[in-house]
Amino acid sequence: MWTAILVFTVLALVLGALLGYAGQAFKVEGDPLADKIDALLPQTQCGQCGYPGCRPYAEAIAAGEADINRCPPGGETTIKALADLLGVEPKPLDAELGEEKPKTVAWIDEQVCIGCTLCIQACPVDAILGAPKLMHTVIRDECTGCELCVAPCPVDCIYMLPLKPELDQWRWPNPESRIEIAEDVSLVIASDPALGREAEGRGGKHAMVAPSEVLSGSPRPAGPRDDGSRA
């Protein structure tokens, strides 16, 4: 019995020393998880999450101090990406912190600007150009739309303008959303007593164009999303 105890004691000591050495020798600099989280954040540095920038928020998530739903500019996409990374369930955006808005850029009314440089100091990404007592202007391509310049302006000459849709940034709509539109339209048909119940729930946007199509079609047993594929 004593041999066994001795053997295990020695083993424990040796392995413990090995582990201790490995921990020192292969130490990872920085926080790899926080880096990964930081890479998923939109880097607007707007502070809407309650932390002074994206990096501190990433560190707080990595440390388990902050929830993943505190980034309004990133919105649903960011929350989903964070949930995937951390292996947790996505949750809706914390409504107290703001809501996901369409992207905007700051614009300075140069007629009104007094050249106080306060907005320049507030901009986290140096996207405002100007000098004391000379008017300032926003570098559109660099502006992240964080709105941090709006509050400091003493003459309220900064406006957040929605981005103009551009051809090469245009996106095809999600066909799913069209189906939802189609379902709305089908209500119009369902309200027509002549068409009866069959039209209910299927209709389609073209049902507006040719309601006869709806009637002549064969009856369908299930709605479009009854397969649960969207769940």
Partner: protein
């Protein structure tokens, strides 16, 4: 010549042809409309930059806009006239959005100028100069991809081109512009092929034409016989959609299967549409830039289907009016074919270099999209997919928003958007719409990511700068303090009395500036009819 052994690509479809509506009559030349709208971007790549001013009179073939960057193409005037404006105008795009265009008002004189020196003996001209000519003439792929041809002619460094493939398959239903072009200008098609062979030093030229165009094949064979060039071979390929896909056509004619990641030029093939070959011939031998194209005007919603030689920039509505107008029961106007084209929200858009077909369908041929049913995983889409993807799996990814998986595992970007999967789906799921959506969504995310990393770099640099300035200020203060201490040690310092005054001055200056700004703002808002957008 021994009979060529043809091959079969995976999948494919036999849609109804509908070619005979439009391919029976010769190409007609469209009369000049009242105005031409020439988009600055009719090609893949960067928009061209205007080199003419509003109010200027221009001549036919004059360059209106120059290429910007390597992947770009210039725009030339299709006729003489006055530049009315350079402004935003609706362009043929599924979004219905506007883009910068040059508006040209023809003066009816159609006065031309010589844009380039004609080179009838092109064999004596160096390939480099010929490629430059193709670029200067604004030639892009006229099969619909509108990729600048000069860039494609540059090929892949280190890989010589052995075969020029002229694509006359024209596999989409309804479209017959290439068919008519090959029948009527077979000689120009083949001469274009000869120029291409000379430019890339290829050994042979294969002209692939689907066997549903026997007249075109006969015309090409006759032209080839007259030309007496043994390097040119006309290949009749079976009519299966999408044999007009570049890789599909190469596979059918040579048996060479070019993998998803590889470009055709990397394997020694240079594919060009037959219309592009004619444009190259005209640019080199006659010194003409690309200012016109053949457009098929067809469909059950058109009064008189046919093919038209159209000046670029002509509005679709003007062209359709000349072609006899719509039928009363027209329901939908599509740019391109029924498989790959898109419905246009308006016909007040110009014909561009990409416009091969204006397809108007009567309501009986344009049935309402049936409401999609759940995917039953029958696998028909996978069987029919010509690039051997798993569309049902991609659909799952796109619906779940799992774009990473769609891109990395299920090869979304290999999809050529041929539309077969949507056509064969028994549940009427618009699969290709999901893939188009997923692709643009992925591009958007990439742009967002680029923007985020750019913002991060700027944020980090700014923080570093602030930190450095703080350190420098502290260092300076420390130096000053040390100096003062040293001075104090030597002499009694004078009591500081001017310290309070500058602060007061500054405060007053700020107050005054704010007063002035407020006054100015009030004045401006009083003038303006509607003030700028409210603060969000």
């Amino acid at each position: 010549m021994s009979e060529r052994i043809l091959h079969r690509f995976p999948g494919g479809l036999h849609p109804e042809q509908h070619k005979s509506e439009s391919n029976g009559t010769p190409i007609r030349r469209a009369a000049l409309p009242e105005r031409l709208i020439l988009p600055l971007r009719q090609h893949i790549g960067q928009a061209a930059k205007p080199v003419v001013a509003v109010g200027e009179r221009v001549l036919r073939n004059q360059r209106l806009a120059q290429a910007e960057g390597y992947v770009s193409a210039p725009v030339h005037a299709p006729t003489s006239g006055m530049i009315l404006a350079i402004e935003e105008h609706a362009v043929p795009h599924p979004s219905g959005l506007s883009a910068p265009c040059i508006v040209l008002q023809p003066d009816g004189l159609d006065e031309g100028m010589r844009a380039f020196e004609p080179w009838p003996d092109f064999c004596a001209v160096s390939p480099l100069l010929l490629r430059e000519r193709v670029r200067e003439a604004g030639i892009v792929g006229l099969g619909g991809a509108v990729f600048p041809s000069a860039v494609k002619l540059a090929g892949t460094p280190g890989t010589p081109i052995h075969t020029v493939v002229l694509n006359g398959a024209e596999c989409e239903p309804y479209i017959s512009c290439d068919d008519r072009l090959m029948r009527e200008r077979a000689d120009e098609v083949l001469r274009g092929g000869q120029i291409l062979m000379h430019v890339v030093s290829a050994e042979r030229c294969l002209v692939g034409v689907e066997d549903n165009k026997p007249e075109a094949i006969a015309a090409l064979r006759e032209a080839a016989r007259l030309l007496g060039d043994a390097r040119i071979e006309i290949v009749a390929v079976p009519t299966i959609y999408p044999s007009g896909g570049e890789k599909q056509l190469i596979h059918v004619m040579t048996g060479e299967r070019i993998s998803r990641e590889t470009r055709t030029t990397e394997r020694g093939f240079l594919g060009q549409n037959v219309g592009t070959a004619v444009a190259i011939y005209r640019a080199v031998v006659h010194g003409e830039p690309l200012t016109r194209r053949i457009v098929t005007v067809t469909g059950s919603g058109m009064a008189q289907p046919g093919n038209w030689d159209v000046p670029l920039g002509m509005l679709a509505c003007d062209l359709i009016e000349q072609a006899g107008g719509y039928r009363p029961d027209v329901a939908r106007l599509i740019l391109g074919g029924p498989m790959m084209g898109f419905a246009m929200p308006s016909d007040e858009v110009p014909v561009t270099k990409a416009a091969n077909c204006l397809l108007a369908l009567a309501s009986r041929d344009a049935p309402a999209d049936p409401l999609p049913m759940p995917c039953i995983r029958c696998g028909k889409c996978a069987e029919a997919c010509p690039v051997e993807l798993q569309p049902q799996q991609l659909l799952w990814d796109a619906r779940a928003g799992d774009f990473e998986r769609a891109e990395k595992r299920d090869s979304l970007f290999e999809c050529i958007e041929c539309g077969i999967c949507s056509a064969v789906c028994p549940s009427h799921i618009p699969l290709v719409q999901y893939f188009r959506y997923a692709k643009t969504e992925i591009w958007q995310r990439e742009r967002d990511k680029d923007k985020a990393s750019q913002a991060k770099v700027r944020f980090d640099v700014r923080n570093a700068r602030i930190e450095r300035e703080k350190r420098e200020r502290e260092a300076m203060l420390a130096r000053k303090r040390a100096q003062l201490a040293a001075q104090k040690a030597t002499a009694e310092p004078a009591p500081g009395e001017g310290e309070a005054a500058p602060v007061d001055d500054k405060q007053r200056a700020i107050r005054e500036a704010m007063e002035r700004a407020r006054a100015r703002k009030a004045a401006i808002q009083g003038q303006a009819e509607d003030p700028p957008v409210d603060k969000a």
